[in-house]
Amino acid sequence: MNVATTTPPVIRLEGVTRVYSAGSNAVRALDGIDLAVARGELIAIMGASGSGKSTLMNILGCLDTPTAGRYELDGVPVNGLSRDELADLRSQKIGFVFQGFNLLARTTALENVELPLLYDRTGRFAGRASPAPEALRRVGLAARMHHVPSELSGGQQQRVAIARAIVTGPSLILADEPTGNLDSHTSIEIMALFQELNAQGITIVLVTHEPDIAQHAHRVVEMRDGRVLRDEPVAAPRDARRELASLGAAA
């Protein structure tokens, strides 16, 4: 990709290893991962269960730190940062989307989306109108702002979660099986949303088990036993919006 050569990568991993020491036997969940993700990319990570995808996402998301190897996020070396510094990096640079949505129950969509603003320490949002309604509008949920999660469908809940992920304008969105709990049609709708946000310049890394979903990315990384087995660009990425249109025509 051209973009990758002109701007520094959002993610640069060199020999990243993560060892879980559960008692006497240690598990090498990640075993020397080298990976670079350029700004503006949409990449999919695939692999069998237990291959280390979630472990890698946790490290990319600064929720966990590597046992060995280097990780640079947006040019900032993550190794050796304190808990608070990691929290600040998450607050400023990362948006998470989870398989189980992970919205706060009995809390409206708008309040859920406003949550990351509460923990902002840069003061970027002080004294301005809240960016939360705009984020909800971008995911197509402006009309559901005051609904609580139990009043929303799975796809709508995931949209709220995506709005929460983008509300602070992060460099990177990390989504671990974002369509895992959704039917295929809703999954394509969510992928359409990711493609739209990606087109607006947001870098996205997502984990998926479904090859069809992975085909919406620019690039697919396949893992096995904590290593990168394959790392290939997708020849002709699918366009989710066009798929939805043809599905609608068929129905």
Binding site: L63, D84, P116, L118
Partner: protein
């Protein structure tokens, strides 16, 4: 703005579990209510005692039989009743600083007259008693030195006795049987109210001490001698003077202990507040136990809350909350619970104080600073007992927390 958000989160989470929160607060509520009642009673009693000390009469001194100087124990029956009329007369004669002296002979007895009969306290005193106690008349007159010398059977009624036996008429001039001896009523004293111990000072009749000795003999003893000085600044010197005269009268060898006790108004006030202090200590014990139990209740419920909301904590951490943010959130929550409990406790405490005042007739003072202290104290309980659960929440690993069911 962040602070307001923290309070918002805390109050919302508290309102979500109304009953649970209310039960959690109970210990704090009771503890703070007990503190408020304690302070209200203590201050009320203090105010009452001060008022009463003034009511005792100005510059008053009291001489009682028995020594309390060493160990506070009087030396048995043999030396107990050692105050005599001659002691009182000698004091009146020899002292230079005392304006008036009167013996007081205490006795109890049945009165018959007016509309029925009445059991009350009988005091035999000198005419100067009225001035020493600063006790005005409601009607009629106090008896005179002539009455005293002639051992006349005249009586002055306390207002409670007058009301009980002569509800509809002025008793002055009427006859009365006092232990079957006929007396003429010559006056009624103005009401003086209750003592700190709750005794009605107006439930009494007063007769000349000579008459008491002559007609109530065998049933009377000199309980005390009361005296007053010309001015309050004479009190310490007068105490010394009385001591010398009394030691002389009782022929006490130098180096031996006094067989009498002299008390001034401060001593009397201290004795009176001693009894309310026991009550206060009891309430303080209840209060501190309730506050500790209440604090443990808060700690318990906060630990439950941290476990219930582990996933929420994980979400907050994933989107950028620091450990300190989570700590603050849970600490604010426990402080909001404890302060809310404290506020309810203040209201209940004040209500209980007023109810107690109505039911018992005790004086109850409601100092506003007690409420401020109670709020600060319950906040401190919230911080102290909320800290451990809050720190536990803050120390959670975000990955584990997000996986929590």
């Amino acid at each position: 703005m962040r602070k307001r958000a923290l309070f918002g989160i805390a109050t919302r989470s508290i309102l979500r579990n109304k009953l649970r929160t209310l039960l959690t607060m109970l210990g704090i509520v009771i503890g703070v209510a007990a503190v408020i009642v304690m302070v209200a009673l203590g201050q009320g009693a203090q105010a009452m005692i001060e008022k009463q000390i003034k009511g005792l009469g100005t510059n008053m001194l009291m001489i009682m039989a028995g020594s309390t100087s060493q160990g506070g124990v009087s030396q048995g029956a043999a030396t107990f009743n050692r105050l005599t009329i001659p002691d009182a007369e000698k004091l009146a004669r020899e002292s230079t600083l005392l304006s008036a002296v009167s013996p007081v002979i205490f006795s109890r007895g049945q009165l018959i007259g007016g509309i029925g009969n009445w059991r009350t306290m009988i005091m035999g005193v000198a005419p100067s008693y009225q001035a020493i106690r600063d006790w005005p008349m409601q009607s009629g007159n106090f008896f005179t030195d002539a009455d005293l010398r002639s051992v006349r059977r005249v009586v002055v009624l306390g207002s409670t006795v007058a009301k009980a036996l002569f509800p509809d008429e002025d008793p002055v001039g009427q006859q009365l049987q006092l232990r079957n001896v006929p007396f003429t009523i010559i006056g009624v004293l103005a009401p003086k109210g209750q003592t700190a111990g709750g005794n009605d000072q107006d439930d009494t009749v007063i007769i000349p001490y000579t008459t008491a000795q002559a007609h109530l003999a065998g049933h009377s003893r000199i309980g005390q001698i009361i005296a007053s000085t010309f001015s309050p600044s004479d009190l310490p010197a007068a105490q010394q003077e009385i001591r010398q005269i009394m030691r002389d009268a009782h022929k006490i060898a130098p180096g031996d202990d006094d067989d009498f006790t002299i008390r001034n108004q401060d001593d009397i006030a201290a004795a009176a507040s001693g009894s309310t202090r026991v009550m206060s200590l009891l309430l303080a014990a209840i209060a501190s136990i309730s506050l500790v139990v209440g604090g443990i209740g808060i700690m318990n419920i906060m630990l439950v809350s941290v476990t219930e909301r582990t996933r929420e904590i994980g979400i907050r951490m994933a989107i950028g909350a620091r450990g300190g943010d989570v700590l603050a959130q849970f600490l604010v929550e426990s402080v909001v619970i404890s302060v809310a409990g404290g506020l309810i406790g203040i209201v209940l405490g004040y209500l209980a104080g007023f109810a107690l005042a109505r039911a018992t007739g005790w004086a109850v003072a409601m100092p506003p600073d007690a409420a401020v202290i109670a709020v600060l104290f319950s906040a401190a309980v919230g911080v102290f007992f909320g800290f451990y659960p809050a720190r536990k929440a803050a120390a959670l690993d975000p990955i584990q927390a997000l996986r929590h069911e």
